[in-house]
Amino acid sequence: MRTIRRHVTGALTAAAAALLVAACGSGTPGQSADEEDAGEDGAVVLEMWQDKFSDADNAWYKEKVEAFNAAHDDVQIRLTVVPGDAWDQKMKAAQAAGTAPDLYTLNYSEVLPRARNGELAPIGDVIAADGWEDLEERFLDAVTEDGERYAYPMLYEPSSLLFYRADLFEAAGLDPDAPPESWDDLIAAAAALKAAHPDIVPFQTAQNGVELSWTTWGLQVNATGHLPISDDWSTSLASDDGYLALLETYQRLAEDGLIAPQALSPYGDAAPLGEGKLAMQASGSWAISQLLLDYPDMIDDLRVAPLPSLDGDLTKPTGTLGGWSLGVDAKSDHPEEAAQAISWLLAEDVDVVLDYFKDTNFTKFSPRISVAAAIAEEDTSVNPWLDVMTERVVPYQVLEPTYDWAVSLAFGTAMEKALQGQDIEEALTTADAEITKAITDLDLAARAGS
């Protein structure tokens, strides 16, 4: 009897031990940690995560990763496309389990916060000096902390443009060649469009707190000359009276019924415009690509202009230059190989990256001087609004801020309160208090970039 009990106890202990070992092993079911790192021929396997972008973007990543794998016997990349709405939780869970990908896509506003938190490996020494020298200075700065480089920039794109229907403008008695330059002009145009086309929503922009948080960074600077937190992240500036005009403008749009009470699509999606449900829409340059590919019949009736400025001065920022880069996880077992893969994909052969801009119809810009020069040699007529972006938008926009999301969300919530018809001054007072709390709770001043 004692022997049987010992056997049972032993079996249970073994089962428990097996569970513990399993819990400490691979993050991929049915695969051990060792298997993940080694390919069939002993090649190093790099896990790469890519945000899910448009079909054209995704196709470029797939094609270039396959080309990389074909060109390298000793290093192979395993690409995973992650939907944007699942990215944060998937990444956090992977980081917690120690199974974060070796390299992944990062937007510029993420790079320095992640670098300061020790999440990214420095890659400055692995990528050749030529690669770094080829970058525009402002994008080099966007990935540099204390003289060290933490990601390699791939592209940038204006996040705020005004798309409008020329045919509807004409029918409403508006000049399609003279788009609104101030928000008062835009409101007047929207009112005229509403009167002429009662079945079409006159205007759409970001209309919920989260989207308002990041899509209005440029307008926040437009309104006051600064963001709602001081440059050293020590003081909230949300109570600046200059923001009243911005919130009043949004409130007027809602009160006058010039925007739908519920947005017809997310900020980044131009489908309602392509489907003829909207007369004007604020969105980023990526929407051009979507409209060119999905709604070619609508292109002749569409126009693109800079998003209006509060006072009509279009040399002031009204949006940001967002964009994407690739970085290496600080806990990667193969940081050097991962950085070399980034170099191959983004920093070496101009043609590799040039294909990306061709595939996306030249609706985005390259931070690499040599690639930008190569684009200038191409026939870019597929994007009829490239000149508008190049000459009237890009030079005046600001880069995305790198402070904590809580600060952006506090201001975005104030904007949403304005849209919901709540008291504007109170909304800004609350935002000011929330930003002040975030500064204290998160010790932001100590985490401010150098």
Binding site: L19, Q262, K277, E416, K417, K437
Partner: protein, 316 residues
């Protein structure tokens, strides 16, 4: 079945206790076997519940980011959560949400179970299958279905209210309607299992009680309020606690349908924690918040128990 003490001979209960006290204590061998049989469950519980809870409690006192040396911060994470108006209002909102969802589920389930009990077996089976279908549909699918229903442009509900001359409404983008709008699918999702449990409780009540009451001239309301509901007390208690706990922890519907908006009007505690988990650089806040939510849920369950007092049913 509870045997009334009065029906026993005098001294029987005392005698029974005396006999119990004379009984030999269980042998050590039996204890060991019991522990052995329990061991797998205890080990699994230890690995997947107890240890994570203990470790989480420990971590809630640290700034923890997976990449930096953890920094002990004492009660800071707890005080950050408790002083965050967003967290406090999410708790209050979850109670309002539960008050919208749970009573509605209980009332509809009761009416439905009464209907099923009253109709023939074949129709009853068809009704049971129909009411159970939402239970096997995932919350994600339900969210998408109701999103289509609530859509401002081209939504089914706006088409329907348009038939009565009403203007289209922004059901999930208006602070006044957003919470009720996500409560409706929560009721729909919770109805199936509640109705079947309620039906099981109804069928468990002896028919003789109703026959006796009818002979005494009791009408439907009297039979319902003096027989049915008192005898369903434990069922109602279970459904109340399970319903409140589930409603307060509702996560999928606000995440997919509204992402907590507009203006946090659908931000429930779990979504608050999830948002902090996915966006905060340090995860101490979400862990501390989860512990505080645990306390809230435990307190609510205790209050419901206290108010309703779970009794063993006095049945036939």
């Amino acid at each position: 079945m509870t045997v009334p003490t009065a029906s026993l001979p005098p001294g029987a209960a005392v005698g029974s206790e005396r006999r119990d006290s004379r009984r030999r204590p269980p042998s050590r061998k039996d204890n060991k076997l019991a522990f052995l049989m329990l061991a797998p469950l205890v080990i699994l519980l230890g690995i997947f519940v107890i240890w994570p809870m203990v470790y989480s409690a420990y971590l809630s006192f640290f700034d923890w980011s997976f990449y930096q040396e953890s920094r002990f911060v004492g009660w800071k994470n707890f005080s950050n959560v408790l002083t965050d108006p967003q967290f406090r209002s999410s708790i209050v909102r979850s109670l309002v949400f539960a008050l919208m969802v749970v009573p509605a589920i209980l009332v509809i389930s009761f009416l439905f179970a009464s209907l099923v009990k009253a109709v023939g077996a074949r129709l009853g089976t068809a009704l049971k299958v129909a009411i159970y279908i939402p239970t096997v549909i995932s919350g994600v699918i339900t969210s998408v279905i109701f999103l289509l229903i609530y859509q401002y442009s081209g939504g089914v509900l706006n088409w329907f209210v348009g038939l009565f001359g009403m203007e289209p409404q922004a059901w999930i983008a208006d602070v006044r309607t957003a919470l009720p709008a996500i409560a409706a699918p929560a009721v729909w999702l919770g109805l199936g299992i509640s109705a079947l449990i309620m039906l099981a409780g109804l069928l468990d009540i002896p028919q003789s009680y109703y026959e006796a009451a009818e002979l005494e001239g009791a009408n439907w309301f009297q039979r319902t309020f003096y027989i049915t509901i008192p005898l369903l007390k434990n069922i109602i208690l279970y459904l109340l606690i399970a319903g409140f706990t589930a409603a307060i922890q509702q996560f999928e519907l606000p995440l997919i349908m509204t992402n907590g908006g507009p203006l946090d009007s659908t931000l429930l505690p779990n979504l608050y924690l999830f948002n902090h988990f996915r966006t905060d650089t340090f995860v101490g806040t979400s862990i501390a918040g989860a512990f505080l939510l645990f306390i809230v849920l435990g307190s609510i369950s205790a209050v419901i128990f206290r108010l309703l007092n779970s009794d063993k049913a006095v049945d036939g």
